[in-house]
Symmetry: C2
Subunit: 228 residues, 2 copies
Amino acid sequence: MTVKVLALNPAPKRPRGRPPKTAEQRDDGNRRRDLVRAAAKLFRQHGYDATTTRDIAAAVGMQSGSPFYHFGSKADLLVAVMEDGMRDGLARVQATAQQVQDQSAARQLRALVRTHLDVLWGPGSDFIPVMLQEWRVLKPTQTKGINALKDAYEGHWTPLLQSLKAQGRLRGDVGLVRLFLFGALNWTIKWFDARGSASLDELADAVMVMWLHDEPEPETGGGQDGTV
Amino acid sequence: MTVKVLALNPAPKRPRGRPPKTAEQRDDGNRRRDLVRAAAKLFRQHGYDATTTRDIAAAVGMQSGSPFYHFGSKADLLVAVMEDGMRDGLARVQATAQQVQDQSAARQLRALVRTHLDVLWGPGSDFIPVMLQEWRVLKPTQTKGINALKDAYEGHWTPLLQSLKAQGRLRGDVGLVRLFLFGALNWTIKWFDARGSASLDELADAVMVMWLHDEPEPETGGGQDGTV
DNA sequence: CCTACCGATCGGTAGG
DNA sequence: CCTACCGATCGGTAGG
């Protein structure tokens, strides 16, 4: 049995003050999530500035002032969208990295690329596109926490790119490779149509074909990996 | 002597109503350009929505309502920024393409890439970044003319990419290659710092190193490149 | 979380 | 191109 022993938290065993509406209680934590989800969708469709807090409220059946019961400002809502998105994206990348850790570096990269495309385009993923497109509306103080998540996200890629470069299958400065690779993938939010002709798998394949160079031939007869 | 014989225009030989300030007269056509330039700069810095028509007016020393003497709406100003930017960008790409037409396909591509980076990052080039970032605020009817310019711009790339693919130096579907290549380059508007460590030349070199594959070896025995 | 509301801002216009 | 202004919208708040 794991028992939470967080020193803070005044042990809210029994409800205080608020009438015991169990149905509403159950929703309670979800209302905030509903707002974030609706905000993500609307921000993605129309942009942050063009979306009003009234739009977001209406999308979840609230009155115009009610979002401010959950969030201090419209910008805080945007921060929440980005943070939730990055937290989820990071989890997905971590899961993928673990699943494929025993495979070849090339296969690992393909898996990460595919996961990244899914983070951008999979069902219910408006969060990261919003982050990518609306990054500049936030001030540095507001993006501190998100930056930490982004660093962790990118951290999963660098060693892989380095090992592929060591194998001669990737060329150029690894830092630039990563930036250009993310650029190529992230830019899909400007042109890719999920209902269109190409699939995410085809996109991932194309990336690999374009970027991965042939394995250098072994020097001597029996060399197995390129070096030795 | 070229004499304007435009049937319309009631021949404004002598100034009517307005006092004959010749200096102001000389600026007349430039005021509009001033507005477009100021708009580009401000749109780039703060985004379209966050920039007010008052900001733009102030930037060129006008009163708040005066931009609407030159432009019907704020959106029209954005259209003008994009159109001017694309017209200039297209001219630059055309000039480059002509200058290097006798060089190898690889050199031609490198030249185009470098020019594109200059369109994005050279002095006074806020126009295209604005276009790339604010594309979605315009309705399809407003982007018709710009789309034609974009098609022409991209038209300069496709045959080159095709010939590089035929040489085996570029891999994957040419359409996707172009999209991913533009993506990688355009995404620099999100991270590149013109005052930073890397130069535009280094960026262009990195792109070539990453994307271009080794030339396939000749079929017959005397292989000259990687083998023997 | 709703009701009722404020204060500021902003695109745009009439009229010269 | 300026003066003076309108009308609407919008983020946010008090008070329950």
